[in-house]
Symmetry: none
Subunit: 247 residues, 2 copies
Amino acid sequence: MAIPKLLVVDDDAETRSMMTQFLQQNGFMAFPCETEDAIRHHLKGGRVDLILLDVMLADENGVEICARLRKEQDVPVILVSALSADHHRMKGYEVGADDYIAKPFNPQLLLARVRAVLHRANRSASLVYRRSVSVFRFAGWQYDAKRDEVTSPQGYQVALSRKETALLKVLLANPHIPLTRDEIANALDVTGEGQGTPPEGSGRAIDVLVGRLRGKIEADPKSPEFLRTERGIGYVFAADVTTEDSA
Amino acid sequence: MAIPKLLVVDDDAETRSMMTQFLQQNGFMAFPCETEDAIRHHLKGGRVDLILLDVMLADENGVEICARLRKEQDVPVILVSALSADHHRMKGYEVGADDYIAKPFNPQLLLARVRAVLHRANRSASLVYRRSVSVFRFAGWQYDAKRDEVTSPQGYQVALSRKETALLKVLLANPHIPLTRDEIANALDVTGEGQGTPPEGSGRAIDVLVGRLRGKIEADPKSPEFLRTERGIGYVFAADVTTEDSA
DNA sequence: GGCTTGCGTAACATCATGTAACAAAAGGCA
DNA sequence: TGCCTTTTGTTACATGATGTTACGCAAGCC
């Protein structure tokens, strides 16, 4: 993929330029935009991969703009907001934002979110009807999604519990992308069947789970090679993963 | 039951036709719909068993449409979305969607979900649907429904009790679909005819029954290959099953 | 350096499941 | 009917998975 083109939409000039600069420094083509018109200009000009949209634009509510953009073109949108209230968050998703991030935000987290959204958008177009991935490989390890079996480089079969397996799956599906504990928890709660248990933000279940998985697949759990911690953010799977389609 | 009639609602023409085709190839009567009006047309026209609804319709939010449909008619709905954010998922359940699936999705998973929802909606559907099937095969095993005979890959005949047989039948009729203990109990109680026995949610009869069946058809009952546990849910038959119709 | 915060993890608490052992039913047969 | 065998359900306990808490260490920050 070419260098992703991003638009930074914010009515505060300083925020705008800081975010733009930050993104540029991190390898993205970022353009500051002040108004909806500016966005349209870029959209007409050609491919735009992602829009970072401030929810509190002076003239209009970001959520509404997002809704309108969605109708016209399928551009991924991340809402940025100074409000951390959750109903706002919901509102953003309802109109089709791909993600949401609250100010003040952790720069690394912003990058992680941007990469994650680009990653999703990039794949979903071509992958929708592709046959499912059945085998993941990394550094000699292998995970067979169909049988739920994990095999070590030495050929030993490693027994993982269901949650451990689910965690591994989430990580393998998002290599090199930092995932927050909430994101992981959400992904793990998806049982695929009846559900009603709202995921909580309480305990440290994820930390413990990560620790347990490390104990099973890391040579030295104290200095993990794959399951790395991103302090203040969450965890990343820090290895290249190759996948293989099932028949 | 007749062949289930499904509606595929999506504003993207390509997605619509691919999903429709895929479902048709897998034995469903599937119709593409572009708008809510199209849905209503089909609903008025007669029985519709399930609606697959894209959350990101151009004009309106799928979740809202789902909510409205729910109020009017009791049609099962599965939401389909390009957003993997789980907040959406929650939202979908709140308004009464029967399930939710994120794009890009595994086609087999889609089929499983569709069958599961249809199954729930019409409990006896899948068993009745397969009444003409006389022989089931899986991983070398064979179950002859006419003679109630189970044959192992080595050709040994395995003797199952009536309940064990009934359990196997239910599982074979719903491969890869997790069944709750209640669902299984219901299916077992109704087998004969009269149905005055109120299925209870009390004891652990199903667990024990599953254990006994495992003892007879699993090579290693401790780590079952076919009759897998879905913690917190129930059990699944985790093998591909082929069927053969009787003359 | 001291302070604050986040993380790792052992130890415990909880809960679902597996299963042996027993009890109750259901047949089968003289 | 009465006795025996087989099937089915219940109970009790063991096991294992998952989540929580508590405490100590390490990383960042001044």
